[in-house]
C-alpha cells in the first residue's frame, strides 16, 4: 500500500512532465487520542459500550500534485493512513498478515481534471473525484449536500467525503458565477465508529405515530419483563440506492457579490446521506442466560430484530449570505462579520414496515408470523413525514484587539437531524423510553456554538464549545387513558443539559511544523445529544504535523 501512493504520484508526475507547470506538496501527521473513561451502554445481556484507552493512534502521509497546462489542470490528493489502533487481530494466523498487524489504508481525497474556457469564455468544467465545498457557515452547512459527510472523526467535524462528479462553472462577469454539478452515484455518510453503540438503544422508537410507538414500547417491555425476552438489534442492513440515473444527485447555484454582501442561491435534488429506518423484522432466539453477578436475574432468550435503513430523497433550496454589520460603529468598533446559511428541505416521506417470524414467547402468547397490525387503516407508520422543514446557521465573528478572535453560531438542525419538528412546527423524537414513559426532544435541535482563538505569543489557545439549547421532556401515562403528563427539562436543567467543550493549545513552530494538545469533554445524560454513549466519551489528544 505504501508503494501505491508514490507510484500513483510518480505516474501523475511523469504524465504531467509535459504540462507547463507542476507543483507537489506533502504532509505528515500524527494523532494520538486517549479515551479517559469507560463508556457503558446497553443492558448486561447485550453490552455495547467502549472502554477507556487509546481511541486512535494514527499517522498520515499525504501528497498533493497539481499539474497545470494551457487551460487545463490535473489535481491529485492522496493519503496513506497507518492506523495503529485499528488492528483487528483475532487468530494466531492474523499475526502473519501485515494488513492485520499493521493496517494501512490508501485514501483518495481528490483526483480530478479541470478545463478552462470550454468552448465559451468563462466556462470551466471539472470532472473527477472531488469536493464541492459551498456554504458560508463554519463547519455546519445545511445547503452543502453534494458531498456526503465524513463524520468518522469527530475532531474533524465538517469534513466531507469526495465523490466523482461533473461540475461546470460559468463566470457571469467578475463577481457572479453560475454553477451546476451532477453526481452520478450516491455516497452515504461515514459515521463514527461509536455510532454502532446506538443500536443498543432499542427504546428509541423512530415511529412518528404516538399510539403505534407507545404500543410497540409496551410490548417490548412486556416481552422483556414478563417473559424474559428483551429486544436487541441483530443487524442493521443498509439499503444502498442502485447506481441508476434516477438515483444521481444534482445542484445548481448562483453566487456572487451584492454591494458589501456575498450572496448565493442554490437548489439541490438528491438524497440525505444519513440513513433512516424503513424496516424491522423480529425473530425469537432461545438462549437462556443469567447475570454473572446476580444469578436470579435471568433471561430466556432474545427478540432479535433485523433493521433496514434507507436514504430518503430530498430537495433543498439554499440561501447563503455573508457580509458585515456595522452595529458597533457608535462605540468606534469595526463591523461584525455575519453569515447566514439557510436550507429549505422538502423530504420524501418514509414509512417503516414492521414484521416478525412466529414468536412463541409463551404457550399463552404466540405472535403469528406476518406484518404488525398497526391499526392505521392499512397504512404503515411514518418515520419521516413529507412536511418541508428548515435548517440554518446564523454566525457572527469579531476580533478584539490583536489577540482574540471570537466566533459564534446558532445552528438549527444538526447534520444527523432530518425531518420536520422544531419550535416552528413541533414534532418530537424519542431519546429513551419504556412501557409507560418516554424522554423526547424536538426532531431538529438548536445549538449555540461559541469559539475563540486567543493568541498567546508562541501559541494559540482555541476554545470551542457546543451547547444543545433544545431542551427535553419526560412524558408519562397518567393512568386515565390517552392523556400524558409532560415534564419539560430546559437546556440548563440536570436532565436537559448537553454540551461539548473542546479546548486545544496549538503551536506553530514555523516552516510547516505545527503541534496541538487538547481535550474533548462531553456533558449530559445518556438520553441527550452529547451525553449519548454513541458520542464516544471524553478524550485527550496530542497531534502534530509537518508540511513539506
Amino acid at each position: 500500500m505504501r508503494q501505491m501512493l508514490f507510484a500513483v504520484m510518480a505516474g501523475c508526475l511523469s504524465a504531467s512532465a509535459m504540462a507547463a507547470d507542476t507543483d507537489f506538496s506533502g504532509w505528515l501527521q500524527s494523532d494520538i487520542r486517549y479515551r479517559l473513561h469507560d463508556v457503558p451502554a446497553g443492558a448486561w445481556y447485550a453490552p455495547a459500550g467502549v472502554s477507556s484507552g487509546f481511541e486512535r493512534v494514527e499517522t498520515v502521509l499525504g501528497g498533493r500534485l497539481n499539474a497545470e497546462g494551457d487551460g487545463i489542470i490535473g489535481f491529485v490528493d492522496l493519503q496513506l493512513v497507518a492506523s495503529g489502533s485499528r488492528s483487528n487481530i483475532g487468530q494466531i494466523g492474523d499475526l502473519g498478515d501485515r494488513t492485520q498487524v499493521d493496517p494501512v489504508a490508501l485514501e483518495v481525497n481528490e483526483a480530478f481534471f479541470e478545463v478552462w474556457d470550454v468552448g465559451l469564455q468563462g466556462l470551466d468544467l471539472r470532472i473527477g473525484h472531488q469536493l464541492v465545498q459551498w456554504g458560508v457557515g463554519d463547519q455546519f452547512n445545511p445547503t452543502n449536500n453534494l458531498n456526503s459527510d465524513d463524520l468518522e472523526d469527530p475532531l474533524q467535524f465538517g469534513k466531507q467525503l469526495p465523490n466523482t462528479m461533473i461540475r461546470g462553472d460559468y463566470a457571469l462577469g467578475p463577481m457572479w458565477t453560475l454553477s451546476g454539478v451532477f453526481v452520478p452515484m450516491f455516497r452515504p455518510a461515514m459515521l463514527p465508529e461509536t455510532s454502532a453503540i446506538g443500536m443498543a438503544f432499542t427504546d428509541r422508537m423512530p415511529v412518528v405515530e404516538d399510539d403505534v410507538r407507545r404500543q410497540l414500547q409496551s410490548e417490548q417491555a412486556l416481552a422483556r419483563d414478563s417473559f424474559g425476552y428483551p429486544t436487541i438489534v441483530g443487524s442493521a442492513k443498509i439499503l444502498d440506492p442502485a447506481a441508476s440515473l434516477a438515483n444521481g444527485a444534482g445542484m445548481v447555484r448562483l453566487g456572487g457579490v451584492l454591494g458589501s454582501q456575498d450572496l448565493a442561491l442554490s437548489w439541490y435534488s438528491g438524497r440525505s446521506d444519513i440513513p433512516q429506518p424503513v424496516g424491522n423484522h423480529t425473530r425469537l432466539v432461545r438462549a437462556p442466560l443469567c447475570h454473572p453477578d446476580r444469578p436470579t436475574e435471568c433471561i430466556k432468550g432474545y427478540m432479535v430484530t433485523e433493521a433496514e435503513l434507507a436514504f430518503p430523497r430530498m430537495h433543498v433550496a439554499g440561501l447563503n449570505v455573508a457580509g458585515e454589520l456595522d452595529v458597533l460603529g457608535w462605540m468606534g468598533g469595526s463591523p461584525l462579520g455575519w453569515r447566514l446559511e439557510a436550507a429549505w428541505v422538502v423530504p420524501e416521506r418514509l414509512n417503516i414496515a414492521i414484521s416478525n417470524d412466529e414468536l412463541p414467547i409463551d404457550p399463552s402468547l404466540i405472535q403469528p408470523a406476518g406484518e404488525y397490525d398497526y391499526g392505521l387503516g392499512g397504512e404503515r407508520p411514518t418515520v419521516i413525514d413529507d412536511t418541508p422543514f428548515a435548517k440554518w446557521t446564523l454566525g457572527l465573528d469579531y476580533t478584539l484587539g490583536k489577540h482574540v478572535y471570537l466566533n459564534t453560531q446558532w445552528v438549527h438542525g444538526m447534520t444527523d437531524e432530518f425531518g420536520a419538528g422544531d419550535f416552528i412546527q413541533p414534532d418530537y423524537v424519542t431519546r429513551a423510553g419504556d412501557g409507560d414513559w418516554e424522554i423526547r426532544r424536538l426532531r431538529l435541535g438548536d445549538y449555540l456554538v461559541l469559539g475563540s482563538d486567543i493568541a498567546l505569543g508562541g501559541a494559540t489557545l482555541r476554545l470551542f464549545s457546543l451547547l444543545d439549547m433544545t431542551g427535553y421532556q419526560t412524558e408519562t401515562a397518567d393512568g386515565s387513558g390517552g392523556e400524558r403528563n409532560i415534564v419539560k427539562h430546559s437546556a440548563w436543567s440536570e436532565d436537559g443539559f448537553s454540551a461539548v467543550l473542546y479546548p486545544e493549545l496549538m503551536f506553530n513552530f514555523g516552516n510547516g511544523l505545527t503541534a496541538g494538545l487538547g481535550t474533548v469533554q462531553l456533558f449530559g445524560k445518556a438520553h441527550t445529544k452529547f451525553g449519548d454513549p454513541a458520542a464516544g466519551g471524553d478524550l485527550v489528544f496530542v497531534r502534530g504535523s509537518y508540511d513539506f
Partner: protein, 244 residues
C-alpha cells in the same frame, strides 16, 4: 503586504517634486502607483519576533489597478492560500485546507496578515488620496514629509500616517503609522528602488511593529514583471478556487 508594491511603483520620468500641496504630492504618488497596466512580483518574506526563530514565506502578487491577487508558495502549511483584494472593503481568502473561499471582514484587517507585521489594511490601500487628506509637514531638497489624516468616511485602524517622500522619485523611503491615540505603532522603510522598464519599485521593504516589541517583517523582491496584459478575469472570486 503587497499594497506598497502597487502604491509605490512609479513611472520614471513623471514630474518630480515641486513646491506643491500635499494633495498634489499624493496625486502624483497615486498616479505613479496606478500607472502600470499590471504588475507581478515574487517576494521572499522574513518575519522576526524577539526571542523567536525567524519565519520565512514566499508568495507572488499580481496587480491590476487597485485589484490584486496573492498566491502563497511557502511555507508548506500556507501553500495554496490565495487572497483577492478588489478594494479596501472587498477582500476574500481561499483556504486550501477547507477548499473554501471566505470574505475577510473589516475587523480582522488590523491583524497581522499571515503572521507578518503587515496588516490586512496595510495591504488593501492602493490609492492614499482616496482615503486620506494630507498636509506637508516638512520639505527639504531631498525629501518631503506628509502627514495623512483619514477622510471622514474612511474605515481605518490608524489615526494618521507620516510619509517621507524621496523627491528624486516621489516615492517613500519611510512611513510611520500612528494609532487613533497618537501612539507611533509601526514604521515601514523602503529602499533599493529598481527603476527598470520605466517603473520604480523598492527591492527591499521592512515593517517594524512597535506594539509587538519591534517585531519586523522584511520583504525582498525576487522577481518582477510589468505590463504583461493580465486578463481582468484573473481578479474574480471564482478564480480564487479555480484549479484548486
Amino acid at each position: 503586504m503587497f499594497r506598497f508594491v502597487l502604491v509605490w511603483c512609479g513611472l520614471v520620468g513623471m514630474p518630480l517634486a515641486d513646491a506643491g500641496t500635499a494633495a498634489e504630492h499624493l496625486e502624483i504618488m497615486d498616479g505613479k502607483a496606478n500607472a502600470p497596466t499590471d504588475t507581478w512580483f515574487r517576494f521572499s518574506a522574513v518575519t522576526q519576533e524577539p526571542g523567536k526563530s525567524p519565519r520565512e514565506m514566499t508568495f507572488e502578487v499580481q496587480n491590476q489597478g487597485e485589484k490584486r491577487l496573492v498566491n502563497f508558495e511557502g511555507p508548506s502549511d500556507m501553500k495554496g492560500t490565495r487572497v483577492l483584494v478588489l478594494s479596501r472593503q472587498q477582500m476574500w481568502v481561499y483556504l486550501p485546507a477547507y477548499r473554501k473561499v471566505r470574505r475577510v471582514a473589516s475587523h480582522v484587517k488590523q491583524q497581522g496578515f499571515m503572521g507578518t507585521t503587515y496588516s490586512d489594511e496595510d495591504m488593501s490601500t492602493s490609492r492614499y488620496g482616496d482615503s486620506y487628506n494630507g498636509e506637508v509637514v516638512k520639505e527639504t531638497e531631498a525629501s518631503i514629509t506628509l502627514k495623512l489624516l483619514p477622510k471622514p468616511d474612511t474605515e481605518t485602524g490608524y489615526g494618521n500616517l507620516e510619509i517621507d517622500l524621496r523627491t528624486d522619485l516621489m516615492l517613500p523611503s519611510e512611513i510611520r503609522y500612528y494609532n487613533p491615540e497618537g501612539q507611533h505603532v509601526k514604521t515601514e522603510s523602503r529602499s533599493e528602488y529598481d527603476c527598470a522598464q520605466s517603473v520604480c519599485t523598492p527591492a527591499n521593504m521592512k515593517m517594524m511593529d512597535h506594539t509587538r516589541n519591534d517585531a519586523w517583517t522584511s520583504l525582498t523582491v525576487l522577481e518582477r514583471k510589468v505590463n504583461q496584459g493580465i486578463s481582468a478575469s484573473m481578479f474574480s472570486v471564482r478564480n480564487l478556487e479555480r484549479g484548486r
